[in-house]
Amino acid sequence: MIYEASARSRARNGNFELWSWLFMRVSGIILLLMVLLHFAIMHVTTPPEDVNYAWVAGRYATSGWRIYDIVVLFLGLIHGLNGVRVVSDDLIHSRGWRVVVVAVLYVVAFLFLVIGAQVILSFQPVAGS
């Protein structure tokens, strides 16, 4: 039953699931490198108590880390929410609820990409901090 449904959805969506599958592998390998480096910097090479507003201001003084964070934001959020979609396709047997979940995921993706991108791109430290 589950498999008939996914076969139908493959036919309906053309190559969408193929591109989704490929995206998960490619973005996964990129995220592996970028997220583990991010984690190492934030938790191993920098004492946690040093991470604060002034530290971020220094980090964002040039555009390098902003570009890095934008890439991680987009790849990470889309990889993660697409993963939630794949899991919900497996676990939610009602087509109606799957549509609801996917719609919610699109809204969450859009909102959080906008919130994240605007702070990374527009952050200007307050003077004197």
Binding site: M1, L32, V35, L36, H43, V44, Y53, L77
Partner: protein
């Protein structure tokens, strides 16, 4: 129980999951999903806390200081474990997908992944927990 009829041939229903004779790939996949869901939930939280930068140093420093509380650092070790596990198991799945002999060696690849997981996690956990004991 009708919804499990299809699955029962291949394994037995166990709560909301289906156990495919409970071998390593089954548990690796289940853990992959649990860690993935955990990490994406943290990512949403992390986007919100980072957005507080726009409200100035007072609010941001107050909220980010919570991440430095000892008991939160312990939770962050679990986050590190989830990220490391998800990354390594993702590589395992990718190897099985792209290497034509991958599926023949999937169990060996799993155990190699377990070793790499602990090799990466133990030093990371040590460095993360040093401030707790300071």
């Amino acid at each position: 129980m009708g919804r499990w009829n299809v699955s029962v041939d291949r394994g037995r229903a166990w709560g909301w999951a289906v156990i495919y004779r409970g071998q390593t790939g089954q548990w690796a996949q289940l853990l992959h999903r649990i860690t993935g869901l955990g990490v994406v939930l943290f990512l949403l939280l992390h986007i919100l806390d980072t957005a507080l930068l726009g409200f100035g140093p007072g609010i941001y420093d107050t909220v980010v200081a919570w991440y430095h509380l000892p008991w939160v650092l312990v939770i962050e070790v679990f986050l590190a474990a989830a990220v490391i596990y998800h990354a390594i198991n993702g590589i395992r799945v990718t190897i099985i997908d792209f290497w034509d002999k991958g599926s023949l060696h999937q169990e060996a690849i799993f155990w190699i992944g377990v070793v790499v997981f602990f090799v990466l996690l133990l030093p990371t956990a040590y460095f993360m927990l040093v401030p707790v004991f300071r």
